[in-house]
Assembly symmetry: C2
Homo-oligomer: 288 residues x 2
């Protein structure tokens, strides 16, 4: 009988659970953040919300909030995103990192798990962001490596909202120190706005993940419409990397993941063939 199994205190599992008091100790607050990105007109964009309260009043932040007791972490981030933006079923989402420094939030001890969330641009059409009245807006985002040696990488992470004439620019430095990588950052002087708290850390990591997994795992296609031209894919890829790639080589490689739909499109110049993504050849190595 399962009930006859007892622990060192002579309790059955039921007795043990009944006596368990989760509030014996104080708990940290648990929150989640959503790094939401899309590609519009060949530009990679991130959704940011201007904070209307302390802390970081006036700074720009990713949507996010507290995790309720009765919802999974994954559900919480999607609920928060829906509440703050109206976005319903993102094409893709994956966990990025959990931040747990004691003093990272002045309100109280907060442990935050951040997610990368992607959707194609048409999914964002009905979202609140972009209204003149809204406190949310899309920022063009770019991460470029400025200098790379074997022990150090210096990159710039730049977010720009043309409509509001806002620039948020960070320098990110990764240095190999013994067995670890030490990351430091600073807000560049040309910025006229900034990110709330340690949000730059999540966004920086999101860019790394995006750039690294873009083609191999096919997550690039979560940023695009179902039927696309090769040029559109290349534009999205270049937006993501922040630099142009060779057309011939890119086509040679990307075609392995595509099936022609038979349809064509004509804007100007020569007609272009349309393709759709074949998920069967997407590489199965998310779990790194």
């Amino acid at each position: 009988m399962k009930d006859s199994i007892r622990n060192a205190q002579g309790q059955t599992e039921e007795e043990f659970l009944a006596a368990y008091d989760p509030n014996r100790y104080e708990h940290p607050s648990c929150t989640c953040d959503a790094c939401l990105m899309t590609v519009r007109d060949g530009r990679l964009q991130i959704l940011l919300i201007q904070r209307g309260n302390f802390p970081w009043l006036g700074d720009w932040a990713m949507p996010g909030g507290f995790v309720n007791m009765d919802e999974d972490l994954d559900e919480a981030v999607q609920r928060e995103l829906y509440e703050e933006t109206g976005l319903k079923r993102p094409a893709y989402f994956t966990q990025l990192y959990t931040f747990g420094k004691v003093d990272r939030d002045p309100r109280t001890r907060v442990i935050t798990t951040s997610y990368l969330i992607l959707c194609p641009p048409q999914q964002t059409a009905k979202m609140k962001a972009g209204d003149d009245a809204a406190d949310a807006d899309w920022f063009d985002i770019r991460k470029e490596t400025v200098k790379r040696t074997e022990k150090e990488r210096i990159a710039q992470l730049v977010m720009r909202c043309e409509k509001r004439d806002l620039t948020i620019a960070y320098e990110i430095r990764d240095r190999a120190k013994d067995n670890y990588i030490v990351t430091t950052s600073r807000l560049l002087k040309r910025s006229n706005a900034r990110l709330a708290g340690d949000h730059y850390k999540t966004i920086n990591k999101a860019m790394d993940v995006l750039q690294h997994r873009a083609v191999r795992t096919g997550i690039l296609f979560n940023l695009l419409p179902r039927e696309v031209t090769l040029r559109q894919i290349q534009d999205a890829y270049e937006a993501l990397l922040g630099h142009p790639v060779d057309t011939g080589n890119f086509r040679r490689d990307i075609k392995k993941m595509l099936v022609p739909t038979g349809h064509t499109r004509l804007v100007r110049g020569r007609q272009s063939a349309l393709y759709s993504f074949n998920p069967l050849v997407a590489y199965l190595e998310e779990n790194l």
Copy 2:
């Protein structure tokens, strides 16, 4: 003046923070788990502790515990590891994943962040694990891909403690489903013990990370003494991958990361040259 900035409620930041009540809502409990691994005698090993209380009484678990209010997440996992095993300064550690399903712990709502922690075998010498009296022990661990197609990967995750004649074997199936990877698992019949709760998920991910980053980032060397022979490195690498690799090719590639120390070692047969790891050439791409 900073004090003159007020929010929509007319509060200054100080007033806002003074009025902030973190306990307005109930909070989940936050815990951390340590997946501690080493390489001993050419075999990859993981430290597991047999649970002495509910839940999962008698099952094997990673060391871990609650995060205190006044310690960083990174500190918490190292403290727990020290308390439960006596290990002080691990050679390497990195965050793996945060698990947040509502019902994953029968005691209460628990959100757990898991870490991969590596140390060379000599660092484990003074640890409690391995005593006959101890509830902790080292298990040989292996993850092998059994079958791999473009849309599915089937692997076996096997932990074995010879001394106690314990086998814990899982089958892990990763399937590409639309844009996600769905992972399922089952305890194989030849097991005579099992892992607590969802700990197999962390251990599975740890093996993926280890196998993927082993050579490129040089984390392999955190499992080895400072001075090593090429054969020792290859043994560790093979232990980690779970299958042999070509000696010539491995040496050709690994030498790029090494500097000869000038010393030699002789056990049987031909003398072997000793090398040390050159961290300057370790690849700088942890952040994926």
